[in-house]
């Protein structure tokens, strides 16, 4: 489908998106903590200052809340900020700003302004970063009306969805899993936009629908391979955007397979998998032939020690087990 021109990493793809959109529209600017914004281990805006100058990459002190409301004020008055909050954990320090201000400004002011801004952060579990650097809060952001929530799983989507996010006139939470940043994949040359609200069927299958996003896609595809060996033909769906949610693609898949496994790395309880399960348990109930299974992070703060950390995050094996269990019931 995608014309394969070249392979780049997920991280490079996001930087391409930022650069292209900043060239295209001079209202777009980047803002984030000065510490590490230019380089460092997670270079959320690497190379941006070099090309666009310090004026369009605003380095801030360590004040996620003030930075977010500042971006909001800029967005309300004609600019299009991209906020880099680094670790998604730090978004908790801007939760009022994100959830109570940014998400609601357009509605509460009766549509007097647009709020064209993107908030980027790295989330998820990586290499014993321990609990306060392993957070993933998409379920929380999805709860606030007014936000869109994007979780790409491939370099092509990382680029295409980020460009769409930057052009969107609404606030977009754009979450990049740390373990995806160095993964490589084909990204089309030239203008490449991925629309919101369109899930991708990563593998077609007839027996069970595995629905997820972000980091769990590779696990879901690996699980599908193993299931194929056991004679189970799994369909793998990548939601790509949680808000807006492509209910149609999910429901159509379940209509064919009758079985649903939902997967995400973040905590199970009150996680986004519950929303997908609830949507299908209502709108797809007639098609369901087996219990809806969730394969998600254990409900514990992510521990440091690798043996513990591995125990609490979901993997292909868990998806295989859940899918088999669902099919056993079918």
């Amino acid at each position: 489908m995608i014309p394969v021109s070249r392979e780049i990493t997920f991280g490079e793809a996001t930087l391409e998106a930022v650069r292209e959109e900043m060239r295209r529209d001079d209202r777009v600017f980047a803002i984030g903590e000065d510490s590490g914004v230019r380089g460092g281990s997670f270079p959320i805006f690497r190379g941006i200052a070099e090309e666009f100058g310090d004026a369009r990459l605003i380095g801030t002190p360590i004040c996620e809340g003030a930075t977010t409301n500042t971006a909001l004020g800029a967005a309300m008055t004609g600019m299009r900020p991209i906020v880099g909050l680094h670790f998604a954990d730090f978004m908790l320090r801007a939760m009022d700003e994100i959830g109570d201000q940014v998400a609601r400004a357009r509605y509460t002011f009766g549509g007097q302004c647009d709020v064209p801004m993107v908030i980027r952060a790295y989330d998820g579990v990586v290499n014993s970063a321990a609990t306060q650097h392993s957070g993933a809060y998409e379920a929380i952001f999805a709860h606030f009306p007014g936000l869109k929530v994007v979780m790409p799983s491939t370099p092509a989507d990382a680029k295409g969805l980020l460009k769409t996010a930057i052009r969107d006139d609404n606030p977009v939470i754009f979450l990049e899993h740390k373990r995806l940043l160095r993964t490589r994949g084909p990204v089309p040359d030239g203008e490449h936009l991925t629309p919101f609200g369109h899930a991708a069927v990563r593998r077609a299958g007839a027996d069970v629908s595995i629905v997820g996003y972000g980091i769990m896609m590779s696990q879901a595809l690996a699980a599908a391979e193993r299931l194929a060996g056991d004679g189970i033909d799994a369909e793998v769906i990548d939601l790509r955007t949680l808000v807006p949610l492509d209910e149609d693609t999910v429901l159509a898949s379940v209509a064919r397979t009758g079985r649903l496994v939902v997967t995400h790395e973040s905590w199970r309880r009150s996680g986004f998998g519950a929303e997908v399960a609830a949507v299908v348990a209502e709108k797809g109930f007639a098609d369901l032939r087996a219990p809806v299974m969730r394969v998600a992070g254990e409900d514990v703060p992510v521990p440091f020690s690798p043996v513990l950390e591995q125990r609490v995050i979901p993997n292909a094996e868990g998806i295989v087990d859940a899918a088999k269990s669902a099919c056993g019931h079918g």
């Binding site: 004026a55 409301n69 500042t70 004020g73 004609g78 357009r106 009766g110």
Partner: protein
């Protein structure tokens, strides 16, 4: 000091303050009568801060406010009828009735909204100032806030951020002595909020917030400097909340009658009226201005009373808008 303000201008300032006073006294009554829903926080007694500050601004400048925002909104030039409609929850309110008292706004005059979260307006004003810097528009932003907000981290983060990145934002603290029931000295260890300016390498000023001429003079100077330098400043206006914290609070169980009396004697409208008389203006001229204010507010009430409610189904609209980017 401020001896050079013409009688005409003083009468104009009086009209603006009287408009806010009458507006708030009216909505206070309408709220008690159940015609205006929700919580109301009035700025009765603090009008000189809003009027003196906004008078020092240019039309394109931005303003953000607090839960106590009617005065700032009106002083910035918001349409009185639309503002009244917003308080009534009518469709013709600036926010379509979605915001009400704690979210009054008028983007048409760059009044970017009251805000029900203490301290939240500071960052939004800062961001608008950043816009102005990008656009080289020469505009500045004013963030109004209470002394209570200065105990919140948002205050500190935003003053430091504004100074660090260098944007033209004027932080205006209306120190009215109380954060709800808490007297300022219980929650702050410094005598003046303006004293915080030293931590951010920005100028700090204190002004008598019940003297509109003094406010106008200081704000004209400071706003001019903010505009010229593109850098922030902090001004504290010492004032007093004549009413309770909100409609449901008498404000009398934690404040002495003497204290309240003393401040009533310093009422900003009273003071400007006295000053006008001293300057040779006739009592009639003053009364005419007050009558004008009353008429304007009555007109707004009539308009709002007659205005239609929003369609209930419209509650589901405008969560997202504009271009979806696709």
């Amino acid at each position: 000091m401020s001896g050079d303000v013409s009688n005409e201008r003083m009468l104009e300032l009086l009209l603006q303050m009287a408009r806010i006073r009458t507006f708030e006294e009216t909505i206070e009554r309408l709220n008690r009568e159940g015609r205006i829903p929700g919580f109301l926080h009035t700025s009765i007694g603090q009008e000189a801060c809003a009027v003196g500050t906004c008078e020092a601004l240019e039309g394109g400048d931005y303003v953000t406010s607090t839960h106590r925002g009617h005065g700032h909104c009106i002083a910035k030039g918001a349409d009185l009828r639309a503002t009244m409609c917003e308080l009534y929850g009518k469709a013709a309110g600036q926010n379509g009735g979605r915001g009400g008292s704690m979210h009054v706004s008028d983007f048409g005059v760059n009044m970017l909204g009251a805000n029900a979260i203490v301290g939240a307006g500071l960052g939004i004003a800062l961001g608008a100032a950043l816009s102005s810097k990008f656009h080289e528009s020469g505009r500045i932003s004013v963030a109004f806030f209470g002394e209570g907000a200065s105990t919140n981290g948002a205050f500190h983060e935003n003053l430091n951020l504004a100074s660090s990145i260098g944007v033209p934002v004027l932080f205006v603290c209306e120190n009215n002595g109380y954060a709800h029931e808490a007297p300022v000295q219980k929650i702050l260890s410094v005598p003046n909020v303006a004293d915080f300016h030293t931590g951010y390498g920005i100028p700090g000023h204190i002004v008598d917030g019940n003297d509109v001429l003094a406010v106008l003079e200081v704000m004209t100077e400071v706003a001019g400097m903010v505009r010229a330098t593109g850098r922030p400043a902090l001004v504290e206006a010492k004032t007093y909340r004549q009413r309770g914290h909100h409609g449901g609070d008498s404000g009398r169980h934690y404040r002495s009658a003497d204290e309240i009396e003393a401040w009533l004697a310093k009422d900003p409208i009273l003071r400007l009226s006295r000053r006008l008389i001293e300057s040779g203006v006739e009592r009639e001229a003053i009364d005419a201005v007050l009558a004008d204010a009353t008429r304007e507010v009555e007109d707004a009430v009539d308009f709002a009373e007659a205005a239609p409610l929003p369609d209930p189904e419209s509650a589901l609209l405008e969560v997202y808008g504009g271009d979806s980017g696709e």
